[in-house]
């Protein structure tokens, strides 16, 4: 806490000793970092390293075993409006009876009271967001009729419509066409230019250093985090992707089995 007093601006995201355990899914272990504002950060790591779990835990979608995260120095509940989330495309049923514009309008719901309907201002914001991702002419399409890249852009537009300060994106570049990739990239840079903080789970090691200015290497624990130039090194990559964590993962596995037995007792 003393750190903050010496720094004039409050960091957008702070994560303290975050530990997450799932029954059979990856575990995050003792994650601790502070994210600077107006930055583009890539979260990189092997499959099952807990990349999605990390952003879900920060957003409160997954209950951590211990630790906590702060958004602009405050607990999440007070700051939800400052956060936007772009989930993986597979997380929803694209056959849902709803059109493109409706999905984007959902981004405005955080700003609406219960029972209230979106007004004219909300519609304009949603239209604007669609225009930014180049999908305005598709506004009345049913979402199942879109290509994968277009669906991804709709999700991005929804996040933009939230008018948040921090954007969490879970693999937005996965399985999209070249033009969508370009679009998303342009958008990310615009967001950074306007002072937003963007955290992106990324799987393509080839493009990481071109697209982002910060990188977080993850493998159950935080391997390294910092500026792209100093952090995205062969040594750190070897640490994140190599087999060095063998013992930790084995011990975690054993204690998870025991943990499972222990959890059962909490009636």
């Amino acid at each position: 806490m003393q750190k903050h007093e010496s720094v004039t601006t409050i960091p957008p995201v702070e994560v303290h000793d975050l530990t997450v355990s799932y029954q059979n899914k990856p575990v995050l272990w003792d994650i601790d970092f502070t994210l600077p504002g107006a930055s583009l950060t890539a979260v990189v790591g092997p499959n099952g390293a807990g990349k999605s779990t990390l952003i879900k835990a920060i957003m409160g979608l997954v209950e951590p075993v211990s630790g906590y995260s702060l958004i602009y120095g405050k607990p999440l509940e007070q700051m939800r409006k400052k956060i936007a989330y772009v989930p993986q495309r597979e997380s929803v049923d694209w056959n849902f009876p709803i059109n493109v514009f409706d999905v984007v309008l959902m981004g405005r719901y955080a700003h609406l009271k219960l029972f209230r309907r979106p007004g004219k201002g909300d519609r304009e914001i949603a239209e604007d967001a669609l225009r930014k991702v180049g999908m305005l002419e598709y506004r009345n399409r049913q979402i199942a009729q879109l290509s994968g890249g277009q669906q991804q852009r709709v999700f991005l537009a929804r996040a933009l419509a939230q008018q948040a300060e921090i954007y969490f994106m879970d693999e937005p570049f996965a399985g999209v066409d070249a033009s969508t990739e370009e679009h998303i990239l342009k958008l990310l840079r615009e967001l950074r230019a306007t002072g937003k903080t963007v955290i992106v789970v990324h799987h393509d090691l080839q493009t990481v250093s071109d697209y982002f200015d910060q990188v977080m290497l993850l493998n159950l624990r935080l391997v390294a985090f910092g500026d792209m130039k100093t952090t995205f090194t062969a040594e750190n990559l070897q640490k994140a992707y190599g087999g060095r964590l063998n013992i930790l993962s084995q011990v975690i596995e054993l204690s998870r089995k025991a943990e499972f037995v222990r959890e059962e007792g909490h009636e």
């Binding site: 000793d17 530990t19 272990w29 003792d30 601790d32 075993v65 211990s66 630790g67 056959n95 199942a144 624990r221 060095r244 063998n246 013992i247 930790l248 084995q250 011990v251 975690i252 054993l254 204690s255 025991a258 037995v261 222990r262 059962e264 007792g265």
Partner: protein, 443 residues
């Protein structure tokens, strides 16, 4: 009561012999087959198929004007099959999900069956009485010719399960792999579906269509708590199914107004409850017990650590340690501490100190054990700080409980990647096997 014993238990009544053997054969087949339904996550498909064969039964009756078992069998199998095809078609060709397809088929086909059933009742055909026994099952209404046919069907299902066990196992576990190594998947699917439909048909008169699903689901779900082996699961489920058939038939025989089906289900549910709590492999009671044992072990090991640290401080193994000595080093609840001390005395790791019954010393075995625990603790601390760059005071509580999980193999790995360390991050000696530190012990 005497009648009950001579006629039911001793099978004095030939009618009962028939009824019982028919229900038991069905119970065996349904229990065993249900295991595959559950493992393939198709539990409620059986529910839909069971409801969907009602129109088949009614149509067979309308065409023959009689409850001829063979006609009923044919009618049921056709409708059971059609219902499966319809569900499959909906899931394949529309955006609807499988649960919607199941609910649709179940209610619409059953509705058709009810329409036909009420239509038959309104025509006043004298043979129709007893047709509604198919709803909830009435073992007493089974005739020898029914039993002969449906019993045969059950036997065929059981034989198919025995001879195709390894194929069914693979197909249920990993259909993709089965198809890659050249299994005729279409034919396997056809076979499993057929087995399901005929089993359900065989149980019609015993359980009725409404509760059929429970005979497929409950024995299999209960059996899962007893074992991790598919074969054993099949046998347990089949036995549970057979037992419930006897139970249901007995109640129905004793109180003729009672339908058989619900009592079969209730006996299955009792077995399920017992399994859930007391089954030796995955039952709740055993899990709780394991949890308690684990907690006891961790508390005991932490206490041994305290004894060892006290020994390190004054280098006196013989000195008795009192409760206040112990609590000073590690904060423990008094009740927990006392229990743990008793546990350690029972394990012969501690002795009561001769001079003072309120003080304890380590035995030789206890000293070795304490050394082992301390060694693991310090190795683990070293690993966390050296290899994972965690600061010593920054280590989460989880790290403390994790050290209790380290197996001898992992210990060896730790020693190897830490290059036979001598001291932990706080510069305390890591004790080795023989009282020396590891570096010496390893030589």
């Amino acid at each position: 009561m005497n009648d009950f014993i001579t006629e039911f238990i001793l099978l004095g009544d030939p009618n009962i012999r028939w009824v019982l053997s028919g229900s038991v054969l069905f119970g065996l087949a349904a229990g065993a087959l249900g295991c595959f339904a559950i493992l393939r996550e198709r539990a409620l498909v059986g529910d839909a198929v069971a409801h969907a064969i009602l129109p088949g039964v009614c149509l067979a009756f309308i065409f023959t004007g009689d409850k001829d078992p063979f006609a009923l069998l044919i009618g049921s199998v056709i409708f059971g099959w059609v219902s499966l095809v319809v569900m499959d078609y909906i899931v394949r060709n529309t955006k609807l999900s499988s649960d919607t397809a199941i609910g649709m088929v179940l209610s619409v086909f059953f509705g058709l069956g009810v329409v036909l059933l009420t239509y038959i009742q309104s025509t006043g055909n004298v043979n129709q009485s007893g047709l509604d026994a198919f709803l909830f099952g009435s073992a007493a209404s089974m005739l020898p010719e029914d039993v002969k046919l449906f019993g045969m069907v059950s036997i065929l299902v059981l034989l198919a399960l025995v001879f195709l066990f390894k194929e069914l196992k693979l197909v249920s576990f990993d259909p993709g792999y089965a198809s890659v190594i050249g299994y005729p998947m279409k034919r396997m699917e056809f076979l499993i579906a057929t087995l399901m439909v005929v089993t359900i048909t065989a149980g019609l008169q015993a359980v009725g269509v409404v509760l059929m699903a429970s005979m497929l689901i409950i024995p299999a779900a209960a059996a899962r708590y007893w074992t991790d082996s598919l074969l054993a699961m099949l046998i347990i489920a089949a036995a549970a199914g057979a037992f419930s058939a006897i139970f249901g038939a007995a109640v129905s025989y004793g109180v003729p107004s009672m339908p058989t089906g619900p009592w079969m289900v209730v006996s299955c549910a009792i077995f399920f409850t017992i399994s859930y709590f007391f089954a030796p492999v995955r039952g709740e009671y055993r899990r709780k017990r394991q949890r308690r044992l684990l907690k006891k072990k961790i508390t005991g090991e932490n206490l041994l650590k305290v004894f060892y640290k006290l020994y390190e401080m004054d280098d006196n193994r013989q000195k008795g340690r009192t409760i206040s000595d112990l609590v000073k080093r590690r904060n423990m609840k008094p009740g927990e501490l006392k229990k743990s001390l008793q546990h350690l005395v029972k394990n012969k790791w501690l002795n009561h100190y001769s001079g003072n019954p309120e003080a304890w010393t380590l035995t030789d075995a206890g000293f070795d054990e304490a050394k082992r625990v301390v060694r693991l603790h310090r190795l683990w601390e070293l690993y966390l700080t050296q290899k994972l760059d965690l600061e010593g005071d920054h280590v989460h509580d989880d790290a403390e409980s994790m050290e209790h999980m380290i197996t001898p193999e992992l210990e060896a790995q730790l020693i190897a990647i830490l290059n036979n360390p001598e001291r932990d991050p706080h510069q305390r000696v890591i004790p080795g096997q023989n009282g020396s530190n590891i570096a010496e012990g390893g030589k």
